[in-house]
């Protein structure tokens, strides 16, 4: 099996590479690339994302044909893709970080700043928070309800169709922290930094 981590100059992806390498050891052929041909022919894609929504979307658009290739992979060929942090947020139609920016429109919804109740909750939301599992999920298989995951973000994905939500976390409000729809998977938290539980999620994705 070939799994590709899309390297589109979206900031620091070393931790994603390290954790996937740990799980892939001897079982999965892992590529880290922005080469469209390689992405096209891989079995699964990981779409990381750090920095702002706008900077990530701009970086995707900077690589000729990348967005079209991802669309074909996810929508036409229905192959599994895991978005992490801003990688998940970009599933939305629109994001409001820095400037109003069009997303990939894979899951209808928007990405807005977390309502921190006038400073009552510090932003970014940094650290370990419990997740509440909202529905049966392939990548959350064997993950216990109330498991701790590591978060770093100030913006949240608000999908229109609530049935895509597989987990939420409590920070000021109920924040969507995992989504799942058919072949499309996303986590707002960082499985690559979430110790054993996080590695389990990566393993679940690899085994799909």
């Amino acid at each position: 099996m070939n799994v590709t981590i899309v390297d589109y100059q979206s900031g620091n992806i070393s931790s994603v590479i390290n954790s996937f390498t740990e799980i892939a050891k001897g079982k999965v052929n892992l590529e880290v690339t922005s080469d469209i041909k390689k992405i096209k022919f891989s079995d699964k894609i990981v779409l990381p994302g750090q920095g702002s929504f706008k900077s990530c979307v701009d970086s995707l658009n900077n690589i000729d044909g990348l967005v079209e290739t991802l669309n074909e992979f996810v929508i036409t060929n229905k192959k599994p893709l895991l978005g992490i942090c801003v990688g998940l947020q970009m599933f939305a139609d629109v994001g409001y970080e820095e400037a109003e920016t069009k997303g990939l429109s894979w899951i209808p919804g928007k990405v807005s700043k977390i309502d921190n109740q006038k400073g009552k909750f510090k932003l970014p939301h940094i650290g370990w928070n419990e997740i509440e599992i909202e529905k049966k999920s392939k990548i959350l298989k064997d993950i216990k309800d109330k498991s701790h995951m590591y978060f770093v973000h100030s913006y949240e994905f608000i999908p229109e169709d609530k049935s895509v939500i597989s987990a939420t976390t409590d920070y000021s409000t109920k924040i969507v922290c995992a989504v799942e729809r058919d072949n499309l998977f996303g986590t707002q938290f960082h499985p690559e930094k979430s110790d054993k539980s996080g590695l389990k999620i990566i393993d679940n994705f690899m085994k799909l």
Partner: protein, 252 residues
């Protein structure tokens, strides 16, 4: 509910772990990669490396340590000490650090914080503030490991780095560091009530009660300690169980 973080800090000099008492009289105590692994297996919420290597020739050692650690530890890794340029940050992040902590360079030029957070995102930019009490309810920023006075008010500086894109503040009391007499809770309170980003308390931990004070009385989101963990006085797990027993929420 967001948990309060416990962060063991490893001071690294020329590739070896040391812990200074008031930044002098360093004792050598172990391999940083092994230490980090022990901490992450023991439940540390993050690992922090502070590179106190003085010369530039030895800067590559920390990169090598970060590389090895990042392959074994799957919790966030923060690296500080001598971070002065965008290239320094790029090198550390590529090696596997998740955050970098900037100290002197931020004091010299706050635009550097802005530039760094714009380039890498504020999630990976921690500004380390070393502060010393100068009068009642007044603290001043110091640089170069506490040796240079700057004349800058610590609270004003904290607000300034927040506006310029710092994602977190790592606040060390130079009066308390190495004394084991507890955090400077008043300093912590002054900073946590005047900023809206998470503050990591540092400097002075000697007992588990001090961790409690930093979080509950000082308002810190995370507590950093070195010697109480490093010399085996307490395990991370013991610290967490203690805090939990006093109704402070931690990741158990």
């Amino acid at each position: 509910m967001l948990k309060n973080r416990i962060i063991p800090c490893l001071d690294v000099k020329n590739g070896r772990v040391v812990k200074g008492i008031n930044f002098v009289e360093l004792k050598d105590a172990g391999d940083p990669v092994e230490q980090a692994k022990i901490y992450s297996d023991g439940g540390a919420d993050e690992i922090c490396f502070l590179d106190i290597t003085a010369s530039n020739e030895n800067r590559d050692t920390i990169i090598d340590i970060v590389k090895k650690t990042a392959k074994k530890c799957f919790v966030p890794l923060t690296v500080g000490g001598g971070v002065r340029t965008i290239q320094n940050i790029t090198d550390l992040l590529l090696a596997g650090a998740d955050k970098v902590s900037i100290n002197t360079a931020a004091v010299k030029n706050v635009d550097f914080v802005k530039e760094a957070s714009k380039k890498f995102g504020n999630q990976c930019i921690v500004v380390a503030i070393d502060a010393k009490k100068v009068s009642e309810n007044k603290w001043e920023v110091f640089t170069h490991g506490g040796s240079n006075k700057t004349g800058i008010d610590a609270v004003e500086f904290a607000k300034k780095v927040e506006v310029n894109g710092a994602g977190e503040i790592l606040l060390t009391s130079m009066d308390k560091d190495g004394t084991k007499s507890g955090y400077d809770v008043e300093l912590l309170k002054a900073i946590t009530t005047n900023t809206n980003i998470p503050v990591i308390a540092s400097g002075g931990v000697g007992t588990l009660d001090h961790l409690y004070d930093g979080i509950v009385k000082g308002g810190a989101s995370a507590v950093l300690a070195a010697s109480i963990f490093h010399y085996g006085e307490f395990k991370i797990k013991e610290a967490k169980e203690y805090l939990n027993s006093k109704n402070v929420s931690v990741r158990l």
